[in-house]
Symmetry: C5
Subunit: 326 residues, 5 copies
């Protein structure tokens, strides 16, 4: 589906143009065309490939739409795969992470973005870019930066959620009785971290090639902007690694807490068990059928026996309490 | 066994040729020969080595047929070892992974593929290549790409199976009573991951040398194609690493679930134990032989005793239920 | 909030100047201006950006104030983010680590430091620098070094606390009954280590680019000083890694101790259980109602039975003691 | 002990020569001398050092004989330390790994091998080399290759044993009751892996410098041969890493199996315990001494009581069986 | 404290000189001065700094005396921090590791060593160096090598102790009842490994820069000697890593052994418990007060009951023995 197709000149919007005029505008020197597609049909993509002269392998990648994030050069043009990550409600009503895909073809005079799966478009990016003609003058390189920056900025709320989740679990981890919930949440947290990590890390690698050293022609003069994007990705990366490390430790610690609490339950049970079995022994003794058992003859034998039981239990209880077993 | 031996000129099939004519066709400038062997005898391989002038060490490797994947230069020619991985039924009826081997000798004017163990041949690659004469014109380099690409493409369904297996286990991991099955499946999953990893990682390393920087003569002009292969391998690699990481975590988590469920069983048993031992104590008390035990004389002493037992058990049961022990 | 704004010439203080005169002093060749802000308003920062001609992206970073530590070049100037780490009392009265932020803009003729969150200012750095005019003559590069060095020096007491904490835990780890406390402290120690690590590691990376090889113009002649800073950071880094490694081991060892102590408790309980159940069996036997049980008729049958119980318990006790179960 | 000392010319054996003539043959241009020592005395080694003009530090290393594998250049000559690994019977009759040492000095016109600890000599290498004069013509570099190749080839059967051992353990790991044996075997396997790894990894590093890039003069023209050796070492290396990874996982899995089986034993015991304690309670009830207990008067009271016990136990048993506890 | 201060010329000792004459001797071309200090006062170090013209930062490092090992260039001179590690008796009479520090300043014409904490001096190094004038002629570079080599050689006995300790623990790890001791020893071993590792690893890094590639002027011609030192450090490094790996595995294995032995104890206790509770049930049955219990009337009822108890216990015992529970 074609979302929009606009020609720009000197940083200013010229016109919404029909897709068959693209190749004409692309040929003009100071002009560039910015096209946005959403889950295009085979025909739409083929048309674009022809209008812009895109490389077959890149188009194949965009068509199949299940790529890893990357930024590749095809001659003078760039092909980038970005993966926005969004929080959505899963089928079971719980939060889940949705990994979208945005394929961006960037040439000297054009930017073509192909969006898959994610509902969240780039209208805001276009609006903001059109408000800053002095930057938009940089052309395709700037638009590419703006798109990438937008995708990266969307990672931060997702990451904040994961950090908050870790802190919530940390508050629970030494609370008795929460081990099962903790372990499920830690596993789920780890799983989401991996999802985010798989979106971020390859992109960091790709962005790192867009500043310093040899830089693709299209990104000339944008070095500090792409370094800023890289820097954000790097920050996300180290935060992810930090959370991962703490999750691993938390799982171990949780295992320790489970063992500890089992150990405590065992002791408590044993203590209460003793409070029952000791009087049982006494009752057993006075249940023996010996002819001559003087206590049995006593008038207060029975209450005395009960008293002994009680006293022994009280002593045991006091003792167990002292060592923290009950 | 010789599967096929075909000469091509300008990207078009010239003829099926007998193996003794190979050296003649190889000498023609615009011509190249594409030979496919399957588990060749010593003699067949020696003949090929002579016809193509293959390096002794490479032929030794192909003969012994248990190499790690690699791509090596011998002067102007390349020697590659690829390992297709296929899902097969093991002897015990369960799925297993079969690691095949394809040794490819590539020279300016020839491609020789030697297939071991795997049943799945490269007929489809040949057919498709012959349908695209404009690409086949690139000669041996393109055929090499097509073979590699085909082997790599076959990894994806295997990888998908492993991902699905992980997801199936994840659905089971917090279900009580499935710990033993989970642990067996996780170990088996890990084992298969390693099999796939050992096929993929060295090939990724080898493919990485076929684009950018200094590239073997044979692969000139194919850079973007080999980068595409590398990119697929990289994607497989990171997916494998991701699954591995989750498997490790899942094994730990499973261990935690085992401990937890043991802890719960202990508590449950203790609770039920208490429901038996407490009445036993009461029965023991009324089984004592004291002369003077007033309750024993009561008409309703017996039902009262039973009633006390019942009431205490009900109270205990209610209490245990409240703390979730029964 | 503007803390101070001073112009220096030839390493000596010229005057406290109002912020609107900055651009005038910056233009003088042998002069440089050193400004310190604390949590500035939007307007204050915008004014500085104009006076010094700061890069928009760097100013954005300083404004949002939640960056990772870094040292970046913007043309001839540097932008550094430092994270001082301080020990503070948390809300619950326990020690916690506060991560501050100091953004430093360094140009040929100016240094601007923007402090966030941390209470601990750089007055001492300024005082010391003014006492050493021969070093202050180096200008902005030296001031930048002095600030960085000061931030790094503040890591050492924090690190010492963490080392002391590890040693304290190590003394406790093989003491019975301290497992729960140990595990909580180990987790908390790990968490703090990560906080410090995230402040130190990226700065080490940044500082490493300020000596040897190609060095930013501003830092020329200061190589040995920045290497010294790097060296301190490296020392902190390896110490952190060492503590981390030991923490991981300590958590594992602690888990082992928990299992061991559970095992010992189980044995002890079982031993005491046996001391009760064996006499209970004997009592049960003499509680049987057989017509002919000769012992029951004996005058000393009852004390004999009690004696037998006692002797068996003593034997058992002696035996259990020998194997260390009681 | 001098094993052999032979002069070669143009790839053909000239003569067995006495050690004092070595320096004379070494001076001839097309000639080279190949000497083999086994655990030489101080004097033998000193003599060789003088005849060949060996570097003092290398000779010191060869004398002390406990080096790590390495390949070092001393001016025009090479000094290599290889560690053959052999399976031997240990003192307790069990298989163990013996790490030998072979120090090789290689110069333009000589090869000196000094063997320590290992019984397995290099006679076969010499014999094969003498059968291939066209290769032996390459001189000292070829002999060095042949020795290295021979040592590396001997790693394969050792590695195969370790792989087989892992597979054997894997077959046992989910079998009940084998946990203790498994854990001992896994530890032993890990220990042997480390022994092999310490022999292989440094040699891989050393061999990697003998092909491609700048290569020592002696090894010119042998690049493809040394790459082949490197390739074998790399294969061994990755296999070792793979086994190591699986051993770690297997130890974890084994720990899980132990916990699981403990959990199952606990349940089983508890179930059987219930089958005893429940009838005990009933017996206790009918052992009470209440005056009025109607059941006691019944003619069939006793068999009825026994019947009730039996029925309850059967019900319990059926119930436990259903949940898999007995 | 000044230990010694000697001038050398052409590799031969000229004289013990007073420290105020140092600067004079240092100026002579073929002469060099070798000074050894032990825990110098502030004044002694300041004097040396002046006489030799040492860099302020290096002197600061030597003064504070708690550096990480390193080798740094200051212009033409080198500053090295070495950490000898010695086995000492700790306060509690147990072996402990003492980490000393030796700061070495090396210039074209001087070597100054500043020793901290360690009692073990370098008198032997000086004596040996003076015996080898042909090597001492190399001047300061050789002395620096000799000092470094000496420090590194002292690591080996410490490392051997750690290896022996690991082997001792390995012999104990599968022995029942040693788990607690093992776990304490493993932790202590790990702690010492880290101490040694922190002394060795940074020095290895530093030494690696003293041979091959660009080498400091002072170390010219000593490349093979420093490579030898590097090689020793590398060997120590890999051995440490190997032990560390095995320690980690051993801790895991030990944990498995603890679980296993707990599992065995549980079974054993349960078995003995059954041998008591089953006869208790029988006794309970014959303690019931039913009017009509034919067995009670039998003359041999009582011994029969006892017999039944015994037979059942024997059968159970035989059964438990068969499955290895008692």
């Amino acid at each position: 589906m074609l979302i929009s197709c606009v020609a720009y000149e000197q940083g200013r919007k010229v016109a919404d143009i029909p897709s068959e005029d693209i190749s004409e505008y692309v040929r003009r020197p100071d002009c560039f065309v910015w096209v946005a597609l959403f889950e295009p049909t085979r025909e739409e993509l083929d048309e674009m490939a022809e209008e812009f002269g895109l490389h077959e392998l890149a188009v194949d990648d965009a068509r199949s739409g299940h790529q890893r994030p990357k930024i590749e050069e095809y001659g003078d043009s760039l092909f980038a795969v970005l993966q926005p990550v969004e929080k959505v409600k899963g089928e079971d009503g719980r939060d889940d992470l949705l990994v979208g895909e945005v394929d961006v073809f960037v040439g000297q005079n054009y930017v073509l973005s192909v969006r898959h799966r994610t509902q969240h478009g780039f209208g805001a990016v276009r609006t903001r870019a059109e408000r800053e003609p002095e930057l938009l003058k940089y052309g395709a390189g700037f638009v590419f930066y703006a798109l990438t920056d937008n995708v990266v900025d969307r990672y931060f709320p997702v990451l904040d959620d994961l950090e908050t989740e870790l802190e919530t679990i940390e508050d629970q981890i030494f609370v008795r009785g929460s081990a099962r919930t903790n372990i499920e949440r830690l596993y789920e947290l780890k799983r989401r971290l991996m999802v985010l990590k798989h979106a971020v890390d390859p992109l960091m690698e790709g962005t790192g090639k867009l500043y310093g050293g040899r830089v693709p022609q299209i990104c000339h003069g944008m070095g500090e902007y792409f370094r800023d994007v890289y820097d954000h990705l790097y920050r996300i990366h180290t935060t992810i690694e930090g959370i991962r490390d703490m999750v691993t430790t938390a799982i171990q610690v949780n295992l320790g807490m489970i063992s500890l609490s089992e150990s405590e339950v065992t002791k408590r049970l044993a203590a209460w068990g003793a409070l029952i079995t000791v009087p049982t022994l006494i009752a057993g003794i006075y249940g023996m059928n010996f002819k001559s058992m003087p206590e049995l003859e006593l008038t207060f034998g029975y209450p005395m026996a009960l008293g002994v039981m009680l006293v022994i239990d009280l002593l045991l209880y006091w003792r167990f309490r002292a060592v923290g077993w009950v």
